[in-house]
Amino acid sequence: EAGVAQSPRYKIIEKRQSVAFWCNPISGHATLYWYQQILGQGPKLLIQFQNNGVVDDSQLPKDRFSAERLKGVDSTLKIQPAKLEDSAVYLCASSLEGGAFTEAFFGQGTRLTVV
């Protein structure tokens, strides 16, 4: 079974530039998550999709972050403009459904460095 695919693996940008990350979940997984993992911290949920609808985006900094999941499959996460504190690993995960008894599968992440 193919896993969760993310690209790029690494990205270095200057502050105030924009950046986009892409995620392809496991085939058939209805729920997709984006997490931000800052060095020394655990992953923090940014946004959760169920098919192509947003279920939770309470911790997404909406003034600069946006995400979409077209056709309920692939997803992109964008930051515009980036700040130094956005330097982190951005993890995408997917699960069969978003219920309580569901295991999430993670991609390898995109490491973003903002200079």
């Binding site: 998550y33 020394g40 655990g42 992953p43 959760q48 978003g98 219920g99 309580a100 008894f101 993670f106």
Partner: protein
Amino acid sequence: AQSVSQHNHHVILSEAASLELGCNYSYGGTVNLFWYVQYPGQHLQLLLKYFSGDPLVKGIKGFEAEFIKSKFSFNLRKPSVQWSDTAEYFCAVSLSSGTYKYIFGTGTRLKVLA
């Protein structure tokens, strides 16, 4: 607000030593509990999970965890660690209400000396 605490940030053990990593959560309702592991250069992988039933759950690679509801804890254990267990370990909680989002602890970095 719901939170997950992992009190050991860095642990260093010799091979064959026993391991116990602490995890406590703050939420009064029903929870589902997970331990994830991240080996160097790899993605997060599920070690074990607890949904209901026997509070002692066994996972892959000889790991186990015990859910103690009265203590809001879900500690991870392994009787004898190996060098290959060197990794970062994350405890996570999924709340059985609302949107079932995963809340992660800050992680424990384990180094096993050969």
